[in-house]
Each structure stands twice: as structure tokens, then as C-alpha cells.
Amino acid sequence: MTNEPNRLIKGATGDWEVVVGLEVHAQVTSKAKLFSGASTAFGGEPNAHVSLVDAAMPGMLPVINVECVRQAVRTGLGLKAEINKRSSFDRKNYFYPDLPQGYQISQYKSPVVGEGEIQVDLTPEYSIKVGVERLHLEQDAGKSLHDQSPTQSFVDLNRSGVALMEIVSKPDMRSADEAKAYVTKLRTILRYIGSCDGDMEKGNLRADVNVSVRKPGAPLGTRCEIKNVNSIRFIGQAIEVEARRQIGIIEDGGVIEQETRLYDASKGETRSMRSKEEAHDYRYFPDPDLLPLEFTDDFVEELRAHLPELPDEKKARFIGDYGLSGYDAMVLTAERETASFFEHAALYGGVQRDAKAVANWIMGDLSAAANANGVGVGEAGVSAAQLAGLVDLIGEGVISGKIAKDVLALLLAEEKGSDPRALVSARGLVQVNDTGAIEAAVDAVIAANVEKAEQAKGKPGMLGWFVGQVMKQTGGKANPQSVNEALKRKLGLP
């Protein structure tokens, strides 16, 4: 790997290395919960999506939702991980009001997915491999509401029993940036597969962050687990703050106690939640209400056959097929929808156009417009067909790049849905290639600025100013290359 960044943290006693492992909880995209038929719809009145099973009524039994299992297996395949043909569910026992059964059904001993690996690109030239330890299915808990009454807490069980995939990484990350990039990449893969929407604002993707520090080359230090961090930015902040805290303690002669901590984003600090001594004894044991999950090879192969193209493959293909740079391919494949929009535009009408130009428009003006509205590139207001048309108009010399920007702005606003070619001709934006007209404009500009024309002979950098004047005169429609040539000739520049 080239350009490996320096990941060490400077302390008073020298350099420190931070070691990070993540447990990502990803809500499985499915209509119904993991063990009940209740809806998984977000929002809704509290306790509107609660079945008898979710409320742990006496005598109620869990029944596995096969769609959630399929999603977990598909995800495992996407992570190039081992699919365990036999896995089982265990009970994790603890009391909490938003855990109606008094236990969470999880996969402790034998998870549905075993070891895998994710390639994480930090820059187009530098990437790391992060090992996946396991992926297992488990139930989400409900939500305790402490702010509704001065004397009571309320419980909303809408989330209770919703399927989560817990994806456990190996402690393979060495900086906050690496951890952020890992979560970003994992989120991309999940969204490609469609097994989790990755919506962190709704809590559909959140992480427990394990952090320890050590002197480079030393054995692993004692780790602290920061629970339930719910944005990529906060994951980065929490790691940095926690690493600093641990280094400070060790350098002051202290020792790190293994504990569970919380990240307080408003104060920018982590706080102890419970120590190792206070840790729960979860009394895991196999759930006798559920049979083990057993798959045939056909079941797994069928899912593999219908897996979409994954980001790494797509990126490689974009570089190979379209001649894109590593950076462009990385940006365009970060979201499946963006990649698809790119390909549609690049190949619109069955002809391959200037893919680099298409990429630039998507990554430039179109992304800016999309971001301003908080939507994806595909929803920004311009279709792949329109973008293809725009790029073609530039390629054919019908409009200049500058005019194209104006055309795009029109397409995004008052000319929504218009055909770019028709728009250009209706608005008279067609580029002037008529040499006579351009020369006349050049002559006029030189005539009006005789002194400057003289100076330009000794200072060729002034050419740009003249180009600007000519373009102004022609309403921006003159072919810039022709203007350049004519000016150089008439000003006597090389």
C-alpha cells in the first residue's frame, strides 16, 4: 500500500496506536418482525405495531420469519463470509421494561454467518482489509420514554422484536478515519444488497465501538466499549475522545478498567455506564422454543445467484469499462442509485458517450443540487436521459461547457423535464461557430481596447481577459476555441 497515512497519536510519552473493533447493529429490511407477524414500519403511534408475541403474553411463542434469514444470508454472501448451514438461537436474559420477554433472542453460540472480510478504501490509492468475525440475527428491544411524565416512564414496543443483524468486526482498525470508512463501506454494501436501509437517523444502523490503545508493537490494551453510537461522525469523534482519555490515564500512571461507556456528543466526552463488575450475567442458553436454522446448499446458491453486483466489483468495472479514475469510480459506486444513474446516462440510447464528462456532471453540479435538497442524485430533478443529452450537446460542439451549466440550471428549475436539445434551440443558446461573426466580435473588442491589445503582446496572460470580453459580446455563445484562435492570431501571440 502506498501513501499509508501516519495513524499514530502523539502522547507525552511517545506515540500511541489506537485499536478499534466495531459491533454494528443493522436493522433488517423486512415487512415483519423477526419472530412475529407485526409490522416493522417506522413511526406510528406508540405500541401500534405490537403482536402478542412482542408483548410477551403468557404462552406466546416465537416463529422465525424466513425473509429475515434470507436477508442475513444475502448479507453474509455480500461480505464474502462463510455461511453456516446450521445455526441456532439463544436467549440473553436480563430485566428491562422495554424487553418484555425478559430475554433477547439472539445467536450467541452459532451465528448464521461466520468470518468474512471487507475492503475499505480510505483514498483511491490506499485501502485496508477489515475482518468480519461474525454476523448474527437478534431481536431489537422496545423503547423506554422517560420524558413523558414527571413520575413515570412509558414503554413503546413498536421496535420490540424487529430483526437486527449484528455484524462484529475484528479489531482491525487503527484510527477513527478507518473506523468511519469501515462503517461507510459496510453501509454501502448493506444498501446495495437491500438488507438494511442504513438510515442512521432512524436508528436503523448503529454501532458499539470497542477502543483500546497501546504502544506500537505492544500487546492489545484493555478495551472499553462505547455503546450505541448512531452516526458515522460521532463514531469518529467517540474514538478520538476515548483514545485520548485512555492515553491520558495510562500516561498518568493509571490503568484502564474494562467497562461500558456512552458517548455524549454535546459535551464531546465518553462517560462510564457500567464497570466490568456491574456487567450483566446474561445466562445465555439455547432457546428451546426454536429449532436450529438449517440450510441446504440450494437455498444458499439461489440467494447467491440473485445477489446484485457489489460495490467493489462495480468500481473495478467502472474503471475498466469506462476508463474512470479510481477516485471517480469510488465516488460513483458509493451509492447503488448513483452508480446506476451514471451507467444509464453514460449508455443512454445504446451508445457510450464521454463517461468522464458524465461522471464530472454527476459529481459536480448534479450532486450539489441533490445535496442542497437532501436527496440522491437520481432525485435531483434531471433524468439520466437529460444528462446524456446535455453531454452530447457539449460533445457535438452545440453548446459550450459554460452554457451547459446554465442549461442544467434551467433543467433543474423552470425547465424541468425539458429535452436539453430542444431547450437549447428554443432559447437560442446554440454555440456560435461562424468564423466571420467571431472575427467581427474579436475585431470590435480589440478596436475598443487598443492600449490593452498592445500590452498583451508582451504579457500573454492577458489573453484570458480578451476571451472574456468576446464571450460577453457574443452572449457566451461563441465557440471558446475559435475565439481563442482568432484572438491569438490578431494579437500576434504565439
Partner: protein, 506 residues
């Protein structure tokens, strides 16, 4: 006219179909009996209005020439089964006031087939007990008189603590007492370690715990999920077979429920046992076992031999580990299954300042002593550092017990004959107050069957020298309940018919 409550299920069914008896008449007769038997404490809730409505609906069906296999038959339901809108507390204080919005699959099957519900039957709290003494609603008295007691003395003991009266066994004590005392045609029961079979033996009736998975557990208040199984208590073999045929069947709401058609078990009653091989396991011969139990067992083998079966000695070498292993596995599962009774969503809530206080007070007051003991045992054996020593070893023993049976059945044995209990019924207040293990030992012959997931049937086989019923147990191959009914019927044919006690309590 004969007393309709003296009819067996099969007889009542036939009389109803022949319209020589109406379901309303039958139901009223049982409601009368129940009204006179309050002192036995078999019912914790009598649903008289509902029963009469259901009976009238059955009569209307008969009038139209319709009717299911159990049409118009009046049943008692163990309080462990969820019955929609009706008292369902597994006889625990912690489920105070709980009336489910749903129906258990087993009871739904009974109503589908036309049965009438008389009410909910007493039981040990959460099915944890062998004498019905752990019920929040108090003990049930067996209709059998204690040795040397007369009816007047027994009746006088009913209103008090019932000390000295006999227990009907447990946990399905209310079900067994109700069947034996003619307070229902038949009853549902459940069996985690012997809770159908021991009460059947104590009260001189028939009970079967079918193979694990034969009946759905959906809507049964869970005790130990890997051991719990529904089953009937009934007056004779045919009645038990008719009941099980309705109760059993696949249910997608229980992942551990067996997906295969239910045979007509009644057809197996009366089938010849000629040529069948009956195993006698030597490990069930316990030191200090009463001679009359041993003699009864030998007698049972002779009867089957006389009916044409071959009797062979077999070995189930891990039997002695079954009871200790059971008392690890069952409490472990219970400690988790009963965690949901926390005072947050339903049932009893005892406020305690904060949430921890609420949990502690609700559970300390809501659970009785025996349930608390088992929850603590279960929590202990699952704890870090003890899990491998207890739970994991118990599961290994379970595998060995299962293998013992598999080996015997693979050798061509069709069923295994054992005593049902180490003794006839004991008195209320007599056992377990100082040493709970004394009570646990009641299950010594029955828990192996739950541990192995096999079907077990208990048939009444005779009276002890003190005049108390004694039963024999038949253990069968997985899902081969039919063979058990055939052999059970052969035992029933040979054994002296027990005269059920007169209604001294009325």
C-alpha cells in the same frame, strides 16, 4: 334415567348423537356436581353461562344433523391454557386478573370439535409441584378417602387446610380430581415431568403425555419449553384416545410442533397386542420401593403376557441421573420463561419506588415459595461459572437418556412398562415442607420420559392394601401413541375395574 355424569366420554358422545341426551342436560348435570363439590377446590373458575351457551349451540348443531367429534361434551380446562376472555393464571398470584385476548391451540381444537367448557381447573402454580399444594388458590382434595377415614370426617376437613385428606397429585391436580369426582367428562392437563401421569395414578384414571411436539404449546403458559407437553386426563383408555385425537395436531405458531396427520387414536383402543414386545427396565426397581408397587408391576407384565405380548428385561442405564438432570433443565428454562412476569404489562403490579423495586416486590409477592425456589435454582445453574458444571452436563445426561431408549426400541421393544409412581397418593401437608427433594422424588419414573421427549401413558392397575389407586406407566416410541393406547387398553381389560369413590364431599 341414568345420571349423565356417570357416562364415559364415548358413552356421552354416543348418547348425544342418538339425542337420548342433550348437551344442555349433560352440562347442567356437571354444573350441579361442580356446585356441590366446591370443597374439593378442583375448579378455580366455573364458566357456567359460557358452558350453557356452548351446550345450547351444540344442541342446535345436533338438531341440524351436524356436530364435531366432541360435540356437546363438557370438559374442564387446566388453568395453564389460555382461554379467550376467561381466567388464565396458571394458578399464580402474579397473573392476577389476567384474561387473554387469545385462545390456546389445544383448547381451540377442542372447541372446533364441539366441546363445551365448564371452567378452569386448579393446578400447582406454573405447574411446579407434585401435589397441587403450590397453587395460589390452595390445595385440591382428592375424591379418594384417606385410609380409615369415613366420608363425614373427610367432609369436615374440606373447609379448613385439608390436612390429612389426600392430594390428587400434581401439577394437574384439579384436572385429575375433577375427572375422578365426575366434575367434567374429561379434562386437559399438561406434563413437564409427570404432571399428567402422577395425578392419573393417584386418582385411578387414565392420562397420557404424548410425544413432545404432538400437541401445540401455543397459548399454554410455559414452564419448561423443551419438556412441556399437553395431554388429557380421562376416565378410561378410549376417552383419553378421543381427547388426544382432538387436542393434537400441527400448528405453525409453535416451531417445535410436529407436522404430520393425527391418527384416530380411538381406533387403536382394542387392537390386539399379540406379538408385541414389552420391555421391563431393571433400573426402575428402586431400593425401598413398596412391595405392593413391585407386585403390581409384575402383575401388569403377566396381564400383557396373557394377552399375547412378549415380555423382556431391558436396561436403561442412565435412569438414575434423570431426576437430578431434570431438576437442572426444567428450572433453568423456567427461570427464563417466567422472566416476563415483571409487573410491567399485565397481572400483578406491586409498586416499589423505582423499576428495580417494582420488579422485586412484584415477583417476591407474586410468586409462591416453590416457584421462587425453582427460579433461583434455574438462575444459579445458568450463571457464568456454573453453566458448564450444571446445565451443559444435564443436557449431556439428557442425550444419554434419549440414547438409552433408542437402543431399547431399536432392539424391537414396542413399549416399556414401569410403575407410574413410587407410592400411592399421600396426604396434603405430608411431604416436601422440610425437604423439597422428598416431593421431587415423586417424579422419579416419569421425568425420564419428558427428558427423552417420548410418549408416556398411565393406566390404573389396582388398589393398594390401604385401598388407594395405583397405576402403571407405558413408555412408547416417538409418535407411536397408538401402540400405547392398544397396550393400555389390554391392561385396562385385565386390571380390576376401580369403583370411583362416592360423592362424600357433596
Amino acid at each position: 334415567m341414568t345420571d349423565p355424569t356417570s357416562l364415559t366420554l364415548a358413552q356421552a358422545r354416543d348418547a348425544l348423537r342418538a339425542k337420548t341426551l342433550s348437551s344442555v342436560e349433560l352440562t347442567r348435570a356437571y354444573l350441579d356436581n361442580i356446585g356441590k363439590a366446591k370443597g374439593l377446590n378442583a375448579y378455580v373458575e366455573v364458566t357456567a353461562d359460557k358452558a350453557l351457551q356452548m351446550a345450547a349451540a351444540s344442541d342446535a348443531k345436533f338438531a341440524r344433523g351436524e356436530g364435531g367429534p366432541l360435540e356437546g361434551v363438557a370438559l374442564g380446562i387446566k388453568d395453564l391454557y389460555a382461554t379467550e376472555g376467561v381466567h388464565t393464571q396458571a394458578c399464580s398470584h402474579i397473573l392476577d386478573g389476567f384474561k387473554p385476548q387469545y385462545e390456546s391451540t389445544v383448547t381451540a381444537h377442542l372447541w372446533r370439535d364441539g366441546a363445551v367448557m365448564l371452567g378452569k381447573l386448579n393446578m400447582d402454580e406454573f405447574a411446579m409441584g407434585s401435589s397441587n399444594e403450590t397453587s395460589y388458590y390452595g390445595p385440591v382434595a382428592s375424591p379418594w378417602l384417606p385410609p380409615n377415614w369415613d366420608g363425614a370426617r373427610a367432609k369436615a376437613a374440606l373447609p379448613g387446610d385439608k390436612k390429612g385428606l389426600l392430594t390428587p397429585g400434581g401439577s394437574s391436580g384439579g384436572s385429575a380430581a375433577a375427572v375422578a369426582a365426575r366434575l367434567c367428562v374429561a379434562a386437559t392437563a399438561s406434563d413437564t415431568g409427570g404432571s399428567i401421569r402422577q395425578p392419573a395414578a393417584f386418582t385411578g384414571i387414565v392420562g397420557i403425555k404424548p410425544t413432545y411436539g404432538r400437541c401445540s404449546r401455543y397459548g399454554m403458559v410455559a414452564f419448561a419449553s423443551s419438556l412441556d407437553q399437553a395431554g388429557p386426563l380421562a376416565r378410561d383408555m378410549r376417552d383419553a384416545a378421543i381427547m388426544l385425537t382432538s387436542m393434537a395436531g400441527h400448528d405453525p405458531k409453535d416451531s417445535t410442533c410436529y407436522d404430520a396427520p393425527v391418527p384416530n387414536y380411538e381406533a387403536a383402543v382394542g387392537r390386539s397386542v399379540k406379538g408385541m414386545t414389552i420391555g421391563i427396565p431393571r433400573e426402575y426397581r428402586l431400593d425401598g420401593m413398596p412391595a405392593e408397587i413391585e407386585a403390581l408391576w409384575r402383575q401388569g407384565a403377566e396381564w400383557l403376557k396373557a394377552a399375547g405380548a412378549k415380555v423382556v428385561d431391558v436396561s436403561l442405564p442412565h435412569t438414575r441421573h434423570a431426576l437430578p438432570a431434570y431438576y437442572i433443565v426444567a428450572p433453568a428454562e423456567a427461570s427464563s420463561n417466567l422472566a416476563r412476569y415483571d409487573g410491567v404489562r399485565y397481572g400483578l403490579r406491586e409498586d416499589g419506588g423505582d423499576i428495580i423495586g417494582l420488579y422485586e416486590r412484584t415477583r417476591a409477592r407474586g410468586f409462591g415459595a416453590e416457584v421462587r425456589r425453582r427460579l433461583m435454582i434455574g438462575t444459579y445453574v445458568l450463571s457464568a461459572g456454573y453453566y458448564d458444571a450444571y446445565y451443559v452436563r444435564a443436557q449431556k445426561i439428557r442425550t444419554l437418556i434419549k440414547r438409552d431408549f433408542e437402543t431399547v426400541f431399536a432392539e424391537g421393544v414396542d413399549a416399556i412398562l414401569t410403575p407410574a409412581t413410587p407410592s400411592p397418593a399421600f396426604g396434603i401437608g405430608e411431604k416436601g415442607s422440610a425437604d423439597p427433594v422428598e416431593m421431587y422424588l415423586n417424579d422419579v419414573f416419569t421425568v425420564t420420559v419428558n427428558m427423552a421427549g417420548l410418549p408416556g401413558l398411565v393406566a390404573p392397575a389396582g388398589l393398594s392394601s390401604a385401598g388407594l389407586p395405583m397405576g402403571l406407566q407405558l413408555i412408547g416410541r416417538p409418535f407411536d401413541e397408538e401402540t400405547l393406547f392398544s397396550i393400555g387398553a389390554a391392561l385396562e381389560q385385565s386390571a380390576p375395574k376401580l369403583a370411583m369413590p362416592d360423592a362424600w364431599w357433596a
